[in-house]
């Protein structure tokens, strides 16, 4: 799910670069030296994980996982997504240099929305609450990204309106798949190492009891 080169009009991809630069400047201000290896290593995990393909009927689609990036890295998800998009545009040889801005805003804002959803979980209290909010965060990230992508196509010109609608509809099944994976992953991390998730306290280890 990304826009290829050559599709969007100048003002749209220009605005994408401007918005991505502004958001990156704001979110990078909170990064100190200790965060550099942490953000990078987590980014590379997500970069690799997004190469996993999920079979759907005769074809397959690859995971995007921007919601999970938000849940794990919090605000620092935005620079992480920018890193991923830049590396994708350079390393794969599939192009995308002129749309780095638009693609970063699309995925990055989705990740930030997921983080916001994740923060809201504390207002509620029911069993499996965190898993449910992880799943919702994963789904919200995808639908927000799909909406931004559709808006980028829509504002480029009337000729792309039909395309924009199709692209948005395509994101609905994607949203369900990503939500399920994000929920499962959050559940796993809560059991194994909750401090990987943002906005969590390290679990207190119970003292070994000798009876």
């Amino acid at each position: 799910m990304h826009v290829a080169d050559g599709v969007l009009s100048g003002p749209v991809w220009g605005a994408g670069f401007a918005a991505a630069a502004a958001l990156a400047a704001v979110t990078l201000r909170k990064v100190d030296m200790e965060d550099i290896p942490k953000i990078s290593v987590v980014t590379s995990v997500f970069f690799v994980a997004s190469l996993i393909h999920f079979p759907v009927g005769p074809s397959s689609l690859h995971l995007i996982l921007n919601g999970l990036v938000g849940v794990v890295l919090g605000i620092r998800a935005f620079p992480a997504i920018l890193l991923g998009i830049v590396l994708q545009a350079i390393l794969f040889g599939h192009g995308g240099v002129s749309v780095i801005g638009v693609n970063t805003v699309m995925m990055g804002v989705g990740a930030l929305c997921a983080y916001w959803v994740w923060l809201q979980r504390k207002r509620f209290n029911f069993p499996k609450r965190d898993v449910a909010f992880g799943a919702i965060a994963g789904a919200v990230a995808i639908i927000v990204s799909g909406f931004i992508l559709a808006m980028a196509l829509y504002t480029t010109g009337e000729a792309l309106w039909a395309m924009a609608g199709m692209v948005f509809i395509y994101h609905i099944p994607l949203m369900l798949i990503e939500g399920a994976v994000a929920g499962a992953c959050v559940g796993f991390l809560l059991r194994v190492k909750p401090e990987v998730l943002s906005d969590t306290q390290p679990r207190l280890r119970s003292e070994p009891t000798h009876e």
Partner: protein, 262 residues
């Protein structure tokens, strides 16, 4: 899936000898100029220029073709859908549906521009080592923190790719087959969680090891850049081409492929 764009960066060529800073800056300008084009003749001219640049890069055809094929998967839908979805009445019909030549022209414009940009990025990043390209970005005033993170992420992508392959083998050995069902999604979730936990434990060790070697927020590199008169000539040629393409595009001599907002 190839993630080593610099696999053939050792091949001697005109583009490889170009100072990397100049190469990135001037071909970057060229790419942005191509993204602004609105007329088909100029888009084809840009594609021609990109092919000339790629010839000068001497990259193996097979290598470039793989990437281009993948891009076409994204672009062919535009060619197929736009002629039929183009707004407004059209007198032409094809297979019982309204067929607009304007839509076809627009689809073609999108495909040609995208191809020109993809080929140009091969010419930029296929002809020098990835780390050298990144250091060049830093010299071009890209924020140091960001370049540091790019280099780091790049380095660890290969580590985790190997980890991913190993875990895949372990899953296969236990009979796991990815199917389109809920169970597979849950397994993927646990799988990604495992990768994350391992990576987190690793980052702590990496950071301590770096501190103990005196890390203070910057990698030191042995890469140095030297510009020569030839570098300026190549830069002038690339930027000149970009300016001429944009000027002719805006001169109004060619019919624009309408996007509906002009």
């Amino acid at each position: 899936m190839a993630i080593d764009i610099d696999r053939y960066a050792h091949i001697e060529s005109t583009l490889k000898r170009w100072d990397v800073r100049f190469k990135i800056a001037s071909l970057g300008v060229f790419i942005l100029a191509v993204a602004l084009l609105d007329t088909l003749p100029m888009a084809f001219a840009a594609l021609g220029a990109a092919i000339v640049a790629l010839r000068a890069a001497k990259l193996p055809r097979e290598f470039v073709r793989n990437g281009v094929q993948f891009v076409m998967v994204f672009l062919v839908p535009f060619l197929l859908i736009l002629p039929f979805s183009y707004p407004g009445e059209s007198p032409h019909r094809f297979l019982g549906m309204e067929f607009a030549y304007e839509g076809l022209r627009l689809g073609l414009l999108i495909v040609v521009k995208a191809l020109a940009i993809v080929l140009t990025s091969y010419a930029i990043f296929g002809t020098s080592r990835f780390d050298v390209s990144m250091i060049a970005l830093q010299r071009l005033k890209c924020p140091t923190v960001f370049v540091q993170m790019l280099l780091f992420t790049y380095r660890y992508i290969f580590v985790f790719l190997a980890e991913l392959r190993r875990m895949e083998v372990a899953m296969k050995a236990r009979g796991f087959v990815a199917k389109g069902n809920m169970r597979t999604l849950k397994v993927f979730g646990d799988f990604i969680g495992t990768l994350l936990v391992r990576s987190f434990e690793r980052t702590e060790r990496i950071y301590k090891a770096m501190l103990s070697k005196g890390y203070q927020g910057e990698f030191h590199t042995l890469v140095e850049f030297h510009s020569q008169p030839r570098d300026y000539q190549k830069t002038a040629l690339a930027i000149g081409t970009a300016v001429v393409l944009l000027a002719l595009d805006n001169a109004g001599w060619f019919h624009r492929a309408e996007l509906g907002w002009m």
